[in-house]
Symmetry: C2
Subunit: 167 residues, 2 copies
């Protein structure tokens, strides 16, 4: 028979426990995973995550334009441009003008780039397996479905298009 409390008709907590707040936990987990990946690719190949993503797309889909890379990596064009510049300097990527539309790039892998790509793939899967270790097949399938749903939902809530990199 309490008299006080203006919002009794509300099942919502009036305090915020960060450690139980799903968006916060999602961010923390994602950043831990990204950090583990970043460290591996930095030590193994000297590649950052943006560079790694560009290599992953070119290994599969080359030739491709910078805009293609943007779509497939969820990175904005400035980030892609910078990553490509570094990869060209490293000798892994070729960049030339598209003769049919000179605004566009045509990106591809050099011989060295293809060699690196072939090493990148197994390390990626191995690291993925390490992260997912402790999850059974059903849980991995659940994670897959949840990420699909959350992606669709979050894409409508967030302004722009892509999905990478605030912080």
């Amino acid at each position: 028979m309490t008299i006080n409390n203006t919002d009794d008709r509300n099942d919502e907590p009036s305090e915020l426990e960060l450690s139980r707040f799903l968006p916060y936990r999602l961010s923390v987990v994602s950043n831990l995973v990204s950090r583990a990946f970043a460290r591996r690719y930095e030590t193994a190949f000297g590649l950052s995550i943006p560079e790694w993503r560009v290599m992953a797309v070119l290994g599969r889909y080359a030739p491709a334009s910078s805009a293609d890379i943007c779509q497939r990596t969820a990175m904005d064009k400035a980030k892609v441009s910078r990553a490509v510049t570094r990869l060209v300097a490293a000798g892994y990527v070729t960049r030339k003008d598209n003769p049919i539309d000179q605004r566009q790039n045509v990106l591809g892998l050099t011989r060295d780039g293809r060699r690196i790509y072939r090493q990148i793939v197994p390390l990626a899967f191995a690291t993925e397996r390490e992260v997912l270790e402790g999850l059974n097949a059903e849980e991995v399938a659940q994670l897959d479905q949840l990420l699909t749903k959350l992606h669709a939902r979050a894409a409508t809530l967030a302004p722009g298009e892509g999905g990478d990199a605030p912080d």
Copy 2:
């Protein structure tokens, strides 16, 4: 009866499809969600995510030291220091020395800070609900468990302690 292919005994793809790669998708989803949150808190209160996290912890656990904030927000001490400085300047947070140990801070909320905190809480839960819309109760529970397991796993793979912010 093919003759070629050195790694036939391997069920692992030799190509990497980024859009099916769980760590990549986790990062994209997390960043979309973070961006949606960031935009809301920026427009509603002029708070960044680091500042928002500090407010969330202080609203619940004040008084607290900077190190306490570090633990509860998974942010490193430099980030916390900068966020607190901005919040003090904004008039939401008090920062004084701990008389028993002058190395430590004692942080708390001002009257304005408490007022903001009371507005922050419902917006946080409303946004969480928006993100989780489309998931039923069982799926939310699955997400909770999966994040717990992934967190434990990723924490052992990543070097340092915390879990925030490489991008």
